[in-house]
Amino acid sequence: MDVQTLTFIFVGVTFAIYIGIAIWARAGTTDDFYVAGGSVPPLANGMATAADWMSAASFISMAGIISFVGRDGAVYLMGWTGGYVLLALLLAPYLRKFGKYTVPDFVGDRYYSDIARLVAVVCVLFVSFTYVAGQMRGVGIVFSRFLEVEITTGVLIGMTIVFFYAVLGGMKGITYTQVAQYCVLIFAFLVPAIFISMLMTGNPVPQLGFGSTLVDGSNTYLLDKLDQLSVELGFSAYTAGNKSTIDMFFITAALMVGTAGLPHVIVRFFTVPKVRDARISAGYALVFIAILYTTAPALASFARVNLINTVHNAEYKTTPSWFKNWENTNLIAWVDKNQDGKIQYSAGKAFDGKPQFIETRGPEGERKISNSPTDTRNELYIDRDIMVLANPEIANLPNWVIALVAAGGLAAALSTAAGLLLVISTSISHDLLKKMFLKDITDRQELFFARMSAALAITIAGYFGIHPPGFVAQVVAFAFGLAASSFFPVILMGIFSKRMNKEGAITGMVIGLTFTAGYIIYFKFINPSANSAENWWFGISPEGIGTLGMLFNFMASSLVSRFTAPPPKEITDMVDDIRIPQGAGASYHHVKS
């Protein structure tokens, strides 16, 4: 069977499963809708958290980025896993004991202030919308490449599916579809990795194949070979770093702390029955995440070797079909600078900016572009995002593996999108309406508003997916920077410092946010030409600035809280209460009554 038919079958079957689960797990109350009734078993929550967390970026883009930057890719690997240690040790158990529905709930109650709640809601909405736009785009890319439908149609199909289970099932529906989606995505990620590891190193475990010798008879280690190839083509060695140490440090910290502060991840720990379950499910979640995150760097190095071997000095006419397929989706471009009909691949950009394709074809049949070529020898443009999706084709794996990867990419994008949409709808119906503007609505009305806002959020997300704002890539730094500089310090201090009061928390959040947002906006939007190491503060890039924003937040809040009135007694009693696991079941009782 051809790839397209297989892809239709795989995608169709997985979508049918997701819809089936949605019908089975309908939400009847706001409790079901927001936190799945607080009844999710820890292992299932671990899987759901992993799927919730691993987005189109983790599945599709991350290995590709590592493949092109080598050792420096560790900022993502460590940044997006190390945050779970912070989450498990510092936040999850206490937030579960607190036992409400959202992060703004905690901020508003702990700091006895609707202003604090409102600041938190604004941050939640901003972070989540930023993120969800990228997911819908991922859905569109997979559909357009593998099923050859328009990106718009792809996004609409994705929206319909998410609409179905997020609006019907709420958190309950989302949780169990995420469990299914985790299984799909991890299988889809591992199968090609195992195949390729076998082919290249003879070792079926990619994590071990990564450090093994090649089977080409040369008896050299894979990574040594890759270092050698990279240097030959004018790149720096794959296992050497290019980023400055201070920048590595700050970016990793911002991603870790940002991860721990992301609302759609935090809310997953509200769904388990007990404090003990919150702790262990953070452990399970990290195991499930680590399976992908330790495979990704191995896959990245395999893909890099394969890519260089396949395309460098190859004649365009004889390149395999994947090369032309991806060229047709605008993600690969080739300019024959020396007109020898062969693809020369080396360090440096082949031309300025993204390829602007024009209608005509070149002498070899390649698509021509209007960009002006650079002086480098490099003739090839490859979008990093295609590495995972193209990998099975580059390695000549069977068609069903290629189809599987498409279904996996969709599972990763849809699971994260659903988690984010739920957070958005909860913020609107619960934090804004129920807690601030329409305090007397009944549970049924609140549930209705929750469904309406989920539907609205999906529509907006879909719009961004079809008409992506040009700045999606840039705003990802925003999401983590804002989570790191606002939520993390406020929640942490709320648990670990009884002296922290509303004046301190609000000042801290505002200073952390303003500083971080200002720095990112300046370098990414106002003055992008100045965005280089010599202009950065202490050499910290906008991606890492959230760490400094977080430190400012801590300093400002500690200072201000020292000179203002301590929090009232019922607040310090509440802090005492959340520090002790006993009675976690009770917190749902007072919510329900």
Binding site: T81, L89, G283, Q582
Partner: protein, 106 residues
């Protein structure tokens, strides 16, 4: 909780903080320490087909994170038990319908 101001509760919290800080120290050393600050020095050590610093940055630190969480879970459960604040003694939990099916009484 009526007993949350008791010396017992204070001692529990103190032990908790000590445990968390020691685990976070390890967390810092394996990630920021070995994989970022000392990575070039560790790259001189060969670890199977890897340079050791590179391996810590792309594999080793992640394994350490997983182990750290499981140590935390194990130690905290013991600590809860020692101070009698674990949820098995939670009378409220016993008759709460949410756990009825999954948590048989001992």
């Amino acid at each position: 909780m009526s007993d949350s101001h008791s010396p017992e509760a204070k001692a529990y919290w103190k032990e908790n903080i000590r445990l968390v800080l020691s685990l976070l120290a390890v967390w810092f050393v394996v990630s920021f320490g070995m994989a970022i600050l000392l990575v070039d020095a560790l790259d001189n050590i060969r670890f199977f087909g890897f340079k050791f610093g590179f391996w810590m940055a792309q594999q080793g630190s992640i394994f350490c994170f997983v182990i750290l969480i499981f140590i935390y879970v194990y130690k905290m459960n013991k600590l809860d038990h020692k101070y009698g604040v674990d949820e098995d003694r939670d009378d409220f939990a016993r008759d709460d319908t949410y756990y009825h099916d999954e948590e048989p009484e001992k």
